[in-house]
Symmetry: C2
Subunit: 350 residues, 2 copies
């Protein structure tokens, strides 16, 4: 029997930690019956964690605590986190991966600090400049993956090409699809659209002999419509697109509630139809898409939304376990090597 | 009694012209009882228009036809449109504004061609580099305005500052709000977020002594949440945000339909609750936000979505009439002059 993968958990990261972290793990173990398939190292203050574990018997059974009484708060700047962060729950969470005690790290803490510490401790894959953050995005059928959603505010064409490689391997790993389609986000699908960086990345991807199923430019509406499995963009555009979609889904949800609660009759008929409406609410629940992944490091770091609840945190663990059970890191290692060889051969400078 | 404003209409622009254009005007006149408050010049083939006007008596009563038998199609490139476009229905629609026969132009035709012809014929306001396209965007209460949504793929800080001035005056003109709030779209609200262009525009807007109610950075989710009345961004980001929101609204709508039609029981209870669900559908109907406006020209050009229907076209006319009845052009003239004076005084180079 293969050994159960070990996930390293920052129990003191995020707005409502450590409570939602422990409840999230318990929910994950209960709902998906993962007991025995996965183990956890919980980083944080053991005195505060013990009483929580008493109410979370499955988590208690499959976890060990590595004590530390310091943590990074949401306001700490990345530079401060690097100077003073050693020994905090976040630092130790990543260190467990570096030491080989765990296969990947999960934190709902401060994104900038997590990114800086991950880079410092795990280092980038050879040739990769900065990690990209990949987000899962609901679409008509299942999920797609969008990257970068915020790590790289300005990107060159070489980075966008790397994102395509990283995102493609990531999608394959978590959704088990042989040859996922990859699109480049642009303001139109004609060749003459976009800026110089996007055009260069477009040409590079088209000419590449890597086995990437590149389908060309896609537009904003294509994300939710499911035109491509993986959508590549710079971190500025990706972050704004992601938050715009979240805002839109929230707006539509509030219009729906308003419409259904407008009159006593509406309330009554909505009550009769509660199951269908619940199903719909689940489809657009942002908690189901929780869990951004830092790609391009020598190790895997999963970032949960800081303000999520136990169900959201449990979803981030779902993504984490999918990655832990795949050969994602070996696959991208190999593809990135081939990409950079190709770059050298064609003298590609973005 | 003041004279009724005259709108110049490209009757042969858009996917389903001239039918939806004539039906759209008729719907506009019927639904809003604008008969007598507005007149139209219809540009296009009179032989094809006459039978349509027989079925649209109000449109017939308040319109005159200016005949031309050529039109710009959706595939024509802007450069071709400039070389060969003279005398087409689109060209003549803009020319009517230039000649002073009409107060503004409305077309559902090819955006690139309309932009190029508008610039050539109407010219930019002094100091403005390129027009911006402003879009109306549904939010929790009413609408907000986002610009640019696609005319300027790359923008400098001076342009973003101009967009703030143009958008603020536009919002005041169509929604009659004294001091609308203006936000700059970014990946976070902290001062250190964003790229150099955005930071420069942010500082410029904060230090300006123009009467702009600038509230600082806003994020993607703030658009639909209604944090600001006017949201300023470059045309690349704005276009992707707009289409991402459209895709998300469509996705949520399809989840809703699916949920409500899942079982006979769902269908039955949805039927009972049809009025509430219809109200909700109206709230997110993209036709209600139809009508982008080119800002920064010596004249007003309203661009309807090319694939819209009569109701969508009628909504573009709503926006057009709101502008025609306001003193928008005089207002921005004055504010732009003061902006550029201020730029000169502080030696602002983006």
């Amino acid at each position: 029997m293969p050994q159960a993968p070990v996930l390293s958990i920052d129990a003191f990261g995020g707005d409502n930690s450590p409570e939602i972290v422990i409840e999230g793990i318990e929910h994950f173990l209960t709902a998906h019956d993962h007991s025995g398939n996965v183990k956890f190292i919980l980083h944080g203050d053991s005195e505060k964690l013990r009483p929580l574990l008493e109410r979370a018997p499955l988590t208690d059974a499959y976890s060990t605590i590595q004590h530390t009484d310091t943590a990074i708060d949401m306001e700490t700047k990345p530079s401060q986190a690097l100077r003073r962060g050693k020994g905090t729950s976040m630092w130790n969470t990543i260190e467990s991966v570096k030491k080989g005690e765990a296969i990947l790290a999960v934190s709902a803490g401060n994104t900038g600090a997590l990114m800086a510490m991950s880079k410092l401790q795990l280092r980038m894959k050879a040739g990769v400049q900065r990690p990209a953050i990949a987000a899962s995005w609901p679409r008509v059928e299942g999920m797609c993956v969008v990257l970068d959603v915020g790590a790289n505010i300005e990107c060159d064409a070489a980075q966008l090409t790397e994102f395509a490689v990283l995102g493609e391997a990531y999608f394959r790993a978590i959704y088990n699809k042989e040859s996922p389609t990859v699109g480049l986000l642009n303001v139109g699908t004609e060749d003459l659209k976009g800026n110089a960086v996007i055009k260069a990345a477009h040409q590079r991807l088209f000419e590449s002999e890597l086995d990437i199923n590149y389908i060309g430019y896609v537009e904003g509406n294509d994300i939710a419509m499911g035109t491509a499995d993986v959508i590549v963009t710079d971190g500025f555009t990706g972050n704004i697109a992601l938050k715009t979609a979240e805002g839109t889904a929230k707006l539509v949800g509030s219009f729906l509630s308003e419409a259904l609660q407008g009159s006593a009759w509406s309330k009554f008929t909505s009550f009769l139809n509660m199951r269908a409406l619940k199903k719909m609410k689940t489809s657009i629940d942002p908690r189901n898409a929780n869990g951004g992944v830092f790609l391009g490091l020598n190790g895997i770091v999963v970032k949960s939304h800081g303000g999520t609840d136990a169900i959201g945190f449990s979803n981030a663990l779902n993504i984490a376990l999918g990655l832990a059970e795949s050969d994602f890191l070996e696959q991208i290692e190999e593809t990135l090597l081939r990409l950079h060889d190709e770059d050298d051969n064609i003298g590609f400078i973005a």
